[in-house]
């Protein structure tokens, strides 16, 4: 009965959910204590970080194990810029550009390969970024950067101080919303449809005259610049940056969040980030167990709920499974075996 009611009013339900989330997000600093506001700010950043990963994973069919490198690039560029006394707005713009450029460069190399080779290349090239940050004196090397100021934001007419957690929360909210809007626009555009076709069958796409690698590269660069944007607001929030944030270990955070929330949904990464944020808050007393818990969670999601939380919710609402367990696409890199009929698929 209840289920039917929901199914009938699906759009209404979505609107209501959206309205509640917007109200909650906007009002959060007004009722939450500073600790929770801080955690919520972090969750917002992770939402954007994870969404940038999913732009590649679900909407382009590429798996990046190096997303943290672009996140860190943005974070370091913005942090160094504000530490030099300049305003954060400039730092954010530079971070977006830097994230995009580094991703375009490393993506160009990685995209020469496909499938697993591509994944491993993104991982290895991301490690180079980490090594550079770790060894380079300008980035603080292995000691990282500390005392990153939030500074002010220059609105032309007025300078707004971002020192308070509340005003900085709103800055993050604006940046993250903007970033999500860009990703939403890209994935729902004609351009995004072509990316989707490449994901579903890249051979067919190239036999429609599509320059597959160029499209993938553009998508990779966009994802990199959005990760850079997420990184840019991260440094001033925590005040510290450590080089480890560029390693491939950190690249798996957005993967976990995306899969947990539901990779097939635009709002999957966001859902994953929020749920994980709450989960982390509730288990904050249990330190040291994090990688075990992360691993078990990820394993459970991949094996038992590959559709993630939103997949579960939708299948409950609509009453049918929303994602197949094995989403091996035709023409995917894995399918280089003989196909029935003697046709041979080549990479």
């Amino acid at each position: 009965m209840f289920r039917q009611l929901i199914t009938k009013n699906f759009i209404l339900l979505r609107l209501a959910t959206a309205a509640i989330i917007i109200v909650l997000a906007l009002s959060l600093p007004l009722w939450a204590n500073p600790g929770i506001t801080f955690r919520a700010s972090l969750v917002l950043i992770y939402i954007l970080f994870a969404a940038s990963f999913n732009q590649l994973f679900n909407y382009t069919g590429l798996i990046s194990f190096g997303q943290a490198a672009y996140f860190a690039t943005g974070a370091y560029v913005a942090a160094l810029y504000v530490k030099s006394g300049a305003s954060l707005s400039g730092g954010i713009i530079l971070a977006v550009i830097a994230g995009g450029l580094v991703a375009a460069f490393l993506g160009y190399i990685s995209l020469r390969a496909s499938g697993i080779y591509f994944a491993i290349l993104t991982l290895a090239l991301g490690q180079i970024v980490y090594q550079v940050i770790f060894k380079w004196p300008a980035t603080g090397g292995e000691n990282g950067l500390a005392d990153i100021p939030r500074g002010t934001i220059n609105l032309g007419l007025a300078q707004i101080s971002l020192a308070s957690p509340v005003s900085y929360y709103y800055l993050i909210l604006i940046c993250v919303s903007l970033g999500l809007f860009i990703l939403w626009a890209v994935t729902h555009s004609n351009f995004g449809r072509i990316l989707m076709s490449i994901k579903q069958n890249h051979v067919r796409a190239s036999f429609l005259g599509i320059n597959v690698r160029l499209y993938q590269l553009i998508s990779f660069a966009i994802a990199g610049s959005i990760a850079g944007l997420a990184g840019a607001v991260y440094g001033p929030l925590t005040g510290v940056l450590m080089p480890e944030m560029a390693t491939w270990i950190y690249s798996t955070t957005p993967i976990l969040l995306t899969l947990m929330g539901g990779a097939n949904f635009f709002w999957g990464p966001a859902t994953g980030a929020v749920i994980f944020g709450i989960f982390e808050y509730l288990t904050r007393a249990m330190t040291g167990m994090s990688s075990l818990i992360m691993g078990l969670l990820l394993l459970t999601v991949v094996l038992a709920f590959p559709g993630g939380i939103l997949g579960l919710v939708t299948s409950w609402l609509i009453g049918k499974p929303s994602i197949k367990k094995s989403s091996r696409n035709e023409g995917s890199a894995a399918a280089s075996k003989l196909m029935p009929g003697g046709d041979v698929i080549n990479e």
């Binding site: 004609n190 051979v203 429609l208 009929g341 003697g342």
Partner: protein
């Protein structure tokens, strides 16, 4: 002397040590329907891959409309006018029929510079919308417009793939076993469809086929490939009588169906 669309010269193609094509040369004249026949494993699909750029030849040259495209990447060959359908239809499983055509036409419109950003950022441009309807009518998939591709029948997937290839306005169309796995009825429809498209669009068709009724009802000319070697090329009647062809693979039974 009519003009030559495609000329391939002394093509050799190896898979590791195995020689799949051994000195294949042939010419396609503009507007003809050429059927390539040969037993399974003869190298027909490989030859199509070499022409379309999915695989590169180890030796020899592929010349399309006077331009050497031997080492050209496949998507550029498509833009030059070479369309291809695969033996096992390659489609976008999680899109609807309509969306698949949007992509195909968008790709075409994109590189033909018919897109104006930003008006056309989210919605397919008008050219795409109109053309989608036209092609669906032409191919007979209008009633399946909103159906998910993965739920289509095998035959409909092949037709959709053909529709997507048509969206590129090909000048030379490569069809790899267009009737493979189809019921007699579907086969008849497909043959009629190919005839109709060919007479409307006047492009050159190069296809492989096992069903001899189909071969003789479509072919202007026939080429015979036998384990990597081209053993004969000519008019259907000549091929039927050609002693070399009979020798190689009509074999004891003296029947074209023997190898299919």
């Amino acid at each position: 002397m009519s003009d030559i669309v495609l000329e391939i010269r002394d093509i050799e193609k190896y898979y590791h040590q195995f020689k799949a094509l051994d000195g294949v040369s042939l010419c396609l004249e503009a507007g003809e329907i050429r059927v390539l026949i040969g037993p399974n494993g003869a190298g027909k699909t490989t030859l199509f891959s070499v022409i379309s750029g999915e695989n590169l030849a180890n030796e020899g040259a592929v010349v399309y409309r006077g331009r050497d495209i031997t080492r050209q990447v496949s998507w550029k060959r498509v833009q030059m006018g070479i369309g291809r359908c695969f033996q096992v239809a390659r489609v976008f499983p999680d899109m609807s029929v309509e969306e698949s055509l949007y992509v195909a036409l968008q790709a075409y419109a994109g590189w033909q510079k018919k897109v104006r950003v930003p008006r056309d950022f989210f919605r397919p441009p008008r050219y795409v919308l109109e053309k989608t309807g036209a092609i669906l009518d032409e191919i007979g998939l209008t009633d399946k417009r909103n159906i998910y591709v993965k739920t289509l029948s095998h035959g409909d997937k092949k037709r959709l793939e053909l529709a997507m290839a048509l969206a590129q306005e090909p000048d030379l169309l490569l069809l790899d076993e267009p009737t493979a796995g189809m019921s007699p009825e579907e086969t008849r429809d497909t043959v009629n469809l190919i005839k109709r498209l060919h007479s409307n669009r006047r492009f050159t068709v190069f296809l492989t086929e096992h069903d001899m009724d189909v071969v003789f009802s479509l072919a202007d000319n026939i080429s015979v490939l036998y384990y990597g070697r081209l053993v004969a090329s000519g008019k259907p009647e000549e091929i039927r009588k050609d002693p070399a062809v009979q020798e190689v693979y009509l074999g004891k039974e003296g029947d074209f169906d023997a190898f299919s």
